[in-house]
């Protein structure tokens, strides 16, 4: 058992905590303190940075979501929608938004808010980014703080004029607002310088007033002398100055638009909200520039006796060529002077006194008295052609020389009346009349009769026999040509060739026989040479002996009857004979010599040359056969046929049907002739082959010898080939003569 003393606790060393209160506090307390301070600081900062709450009332808040939709000013987010709720009457939606603190002070009563949505118009596409990001509210206000407010009315559409945009707002007045749409451009020399705002009816309901904003610096171009005109769509204008087509920009074509220009300087500066008239077109606007719009006009009347067709309200009134006014209206009224009633056409015109050269301050009275003086000097009114095409008329005031005195007639029932003079109307119809008159004056009858005569002559000419015979003559001509083709001379060309060949053959044959003869002669000569002449002489002597015996018998016989004399005579004769024989025998050497000479001659006979000549002949013949002409012979025949065919075609084309038969018969004749010619061809070929065999024989007689024979055999082969060709041609033609006719 352990001692109980051992369990006494050890002496505790007690370190007391800090005596002072701050020493008793842990440093950790700093942490929540810091956290609290930071939190409070952040809260305070948030509260400080919190923007101002504003309310915007919208008719339509499509796309606006609380806590998401932002408010932008110049595309910078300056606030956020916090709440969307209804107004008390449920007629509007109240959007509560918080605007950043630094922007909020500028929100005053002229601040505008609108919802930006995607918008596609002629002028372009805007707000495309809102397709993805959703709509936002755009605000516009300027830097001037006038009357701060927190309640605003949202616009349905973006305002055309942003706050702070430099420029001028003017008002335009038009009779018809059809061409004016909100946002339509205002153009100056084709450049858009402003917008139209929403057109509204004027208070009296007679016209349309539209506010227009012209941006700086173009607003300086607008003075009291500026004129505005409508450029909507396009205008085609046919008036005293001709046809004119006006088209402004594409946007204005679709959307309408207003253009302006200031032609004369010196206009006065504008005040905000000045009202301008919109003229119908540029021309009207420009011409109106020369008048002061608010000037009083002098009204006058003109009574025309003639038709005023073509004169319209608005037509020019010109004085010495210068426009001084316009026609106001036209009316007819009855002038009753007791029984005599008459309808007068009264034309009322307006004259601008300023245009008469009386200065800008001229009054209608001054103009009237001025005109009065002029009329006494001969000033008259008349109608004149304004435009020759449209036939529109205008009124001219001209001074007529030596005019009967007239005065300005001032009556109670009308404006002062200006006397008239003959009108100077040169219209289209008059001119056309003149042209028609000239046309009718033309000698058409003579022209027609001349033409008829000429046609008659043609007919006569056509009916003449000579002309009719022309086809027959032509036919005859063709026949002649055919005959020529068929003529013997032409047809016999192959025959002639054959003849030539025949002649050559004969020559060869002759030569052959000559050679044979020569051979015979040679042989004979040899025989002659070989046989002993002495034998002959012995025979001769024996003959002579027999003769002598005969003579002796004869002598004996003669002795019987006067023989001696006869014998003597016979002896004499015998002697003579012997003498002759002797003489003959004496002549034998000469004969031998001659024979020898003959043999020599025969030896010397130029066989070589002869053969060569024969060779030449054969070559020539070969050339003849091989020559293009000969070769072209069938081709020539074919071409002749072709020509014939062409002739036939021509004849056929010529339409002389009756000639076709003739031509056909001619063709058959020609075919027959060709056949004849073709019949000759086998003979030709056989002859050629015969010639070849003969020539071969000749050559064989010379044996195989050197180059000559080779050449010769080559030549012969050529000839053989030529002969074969001719043979095959002949066969072909025989087999199918019609192909030759058809040229195939």
């Amino acid at each position: 058992m352990p001692d109980e003393q051992d369990f006494k606790p050890a002496q505790m060393t007690i370190t007391s905590g800090g005596q002072r209160s701050w020493q008793r506090i842990s440093l950790v307390w700093l942490v929540p303190l810091a956290a609290l301070i930071i939190s409070l600081a952040i809260a305070w900062q948030n509260f400080q940075a919190q923007g101002q709450l504003i309310t915007i009332s919208f008719k339509n808040t499509s796309g606006i979501t609380a806590n998401e939709t932002v408010i932008k000013f110049r595309d910078v987010t300056v606030g956020k929608v916090e709440k969307v709720n209804f107004a008390n009457s449920l007629s509007e939606v109240i959007v509560t938004a918080r605007i950043d603190k630094d922007v909020a002070p500028y929100l005053d009563e002229d601040a505008k808010f609108w919802v930006v949505r995607p918008d596609v118009s002629v002028r372009g596409i805007t707000g495309l980014d809102t397709v993805l990001s959703g709509v936002y509210i755009e605000g516009s206000w300027d830097a001037n703080i006038t009357l701060p407010t927190t309640e605003f009315f949202g616009l349905q559409t973006p305002p055309l004029v942003r706050a702070g945009q430099e420029g001028i707002t003017i008002h335009l007045r038009a009779d018809d607002g059809g061409a004016l749409t909100e946002g339509a451009p205002i153009l100056h020399k084709g450049i858009q310088v402003g917008y139209l705002e929403k057109p509204e009816l004027s208070f009296d309901g007679n016209s349309v007033i539209v506010a227009a904003f012209v941006e700086a610096p173009y607003d300086k171009r607008i003075t009291s002398n500026t004129r505005f005109w409508d450029t909507s769509g396009f205008s085609i204008n046919l008036d005293a100055s001709g046809l004119s087509l006006n088209v402004e920009s594409l946007a204005s074509l679709i959307e309408g638009g207003i253009a302006f220009d200031t032609v004369i300087s010196g206009g006065t500066k504008l005040r905000e909200g000045t009202v301008f008239d919109i003229f119908f077109d540029e021309q009207t606007a420009r011409s109106s520039l020369f008048s002061t719009p608010n000037q009083e006009l002098l009204n006058l009347s003109i009574l025309f006796d003639e038709s005023v067709s073509g004169l319209t309200a608005g037509a020019d009134v010109r004085f010495q060529g210068i426009r001084i006014g316009s026609v106001k209206d036209l009316s007819a009224f009855v002038v009753s002077e007791e029984a005599d009633q008459d309808v007068q056409l009264r034309t009322n015109i307006e004259i601008e006194p300023g245009r008469l050269g009386l200065g800008e301050t001229a009054t209608p009275e001054m103009a009237l008295s001025f005109l009065e003086v002029l009329i006494e000097q001969g000033l008259r009114a008349r109608m004149a052609t304004g435009n020759i095409l449209s036939g529109s008329l205008q009124i001219e005031l001209i001074t007529v020389e030596n005019a009967p005195p007239e005065t300005l007639l001032v009556t109670d029932y009308s404006f002062p009346i200006i006397p008239t003079t003959t009108s100077n109307i040169s219209d289209v119809s008059a001119t056309a009349d003149g042209i028609l008159q000239r046309v009718s004056d033309l000698p058409i009858e003579e022209l027609m009769s001349g033409a008829i005569e000429m046609m008659d002559s043609f007919e006569r000419l056509a009916n003449e026999g000579a002309l009719r015979e022309a086809p027959q003559s032509l036919n005859a001509l063709l026949n002649d040509a055919r005959r020529l083709i068929n003529s013997e001379d032409v047809q016999t060309i192959p025959v002639d060739v054959n003849n030539v060949i025949d002649s050559a053959l004969q020559v060869l044959e002759n030569m052959d026989s000559a050679v044979n003869d020569v051979q015979v002669v040679a042989a004979t000569t040899q025989d002659v040479i070989k046989s002993d002449i002495s034998d002959n002489l012995s025979v001769l002597t024996q003959d002579i002996r027999s003769v002598v015996a005969d003579v002796g018998k004869i002598v004996a016989d003669t002795n019987d009857a006067d023989l001696v004399g006869q014998i003597t005579k016979a002896l004499a004769s015998a002697t003579q004979t012997v003498d002759n024989i002797e003489a003959a025998t004496k002549q034998l050497p000469a004969i031998t010599n001659q024979v020898e000479a003959l043999i020599a001659k025969a030896n010397a006979l130029e066989i070589q040359a002869l053969v060569e000549s024969a060779n030449d002949t054969i070559i020539s013949m070969n050339a003849l056969i091989g020559s293009d002409d000969t070769a072209a012979l069938p081709a020539a025949a074919i071409s002749a046929l072709n020509e014939m065919e062409v002739v036939l075609a021509e004849i056929r084309a010529g339409g002389a049907i009756e000639n076709v038969n003739v031509a056909l018969s001619s063709a058959s004749q020609a075919a027959k002739a060709i056949e004849d010619a073709v019949i000759d061809l086998p003979a030709l070929s056989s002859r050629a082959s015969r010639l070849v065999s003969q020539t071969q024989a000749v050559i064989e007689s010379y044996g195989d010898r050197s180059r000559f024979s080779a050449e010769m055999s080559g030549t012969l082969r050529d000839i053989q080939a030529a002969a074969d060709a001719v043979t095959s041609l002949a066969r072909t033609i025989q087999r199918n003569p019609s192909s030759l006719i058809r040229g195939r």
């Binding site: 006494k8 002496q11 060393t13 506090i25 950790v28 307390w29 810091a34 956290a35 998401e68 993805l132």
Partner: protein, 216 residues
């Protein structure tokens, strides 16, 4: 004075180390006699009782509460896509998740981000108050409660992890972006502060209440 039977493993009566004149080093666990000011092993300061414990607990707890307010009112996550821009608070996120049918995830987020922090605040406050009032009720349960609070406190950071991961992953410039909001920092601070509060609590104080000799 109570008698111990050292041969018996079960104490027949309780006596605190303080009553036994011993001080355990809170850092390394070495037991010293109470006359030592510093630990002989680790040189740590020896304190029988942390006299400023409750002060620290309250200070950290208040700091945590202050941080917890913006953590719930400000957005914890800012989601920006091409066409949308969305800020979500913790409770808003839970409601959204619940609305979209992700009951499980909503429950997890709700428990981790709301139930646990709030429970911690309540638990720590209860512990601190019970010590201050020298409550003698259920010291064992209170000690268990303290251990649970200390263990579970770190799991509240799950929300911060989700935001941090999403912010790191989803950064596609204009297409989609997720950024942590102000509440993320506040919430993280709040969790850290409450964890420090739990750590500052000296659980030995729980057992001192029924002792009269405690100088406190």
């Amino acid at each position: 004075m109570q008698v111990f039977d050292l041969g018996n493993s079960r104490p027949i009566a309780t006596i605190s180390a303080r009553q036994a004149g011993l001080i355990g080093c809170r850092r390394c666990g070495q037991v010293h006699l109470a006359d030592k000011g510093f630990c002989s092993r680790c040189k740590g300061e020896l304190q029988s009782r942390d006299t400023k414990s409750l002060q620290k607990v309250w200070a950290w707890l208040i700091a945590g509460l202050i941080a917890y307010l913006p953590a719930n009112t400000y957005p914890i996550m800012v989601t920006a896509t091409l066409i949308d821009w969305n800020e979500s608070t913790i409770i808003g996120g839970v409601i959204d998740l619940w609305h979209y049918g992700s009951f499980g995830v909503a429950s997890i987020v709700f428990i981790a981000s709301v139930i646990i922090p709030v429970g911690k605040f309540i638990a720590i406050s209860y512990l601190a108050l019970s010590v201050q009032r020298r409550s003698i009720v259920n010291p064992h349960q209170r000690h268990r409660l303290f251990e649970v609070v200390e263990f579970i406190g770190r799991w509240s950071m799950i929300d911060i992890f989700v935001v941090a991961i999403l912010s790191a992953l989803i950064q596609f410039d204009t297409l989609a972006n997720i950024n942590p909001g102000v509440a993320a920092v506040s919430f993280a601070l709040s969790i850290v502060f409450t964890m420090l509060a739990a750590q500052s609590f000296d659980p030995r104080l729980i057992w001192d209440a029924d002792r009269t000799d405690d100088a406190g």
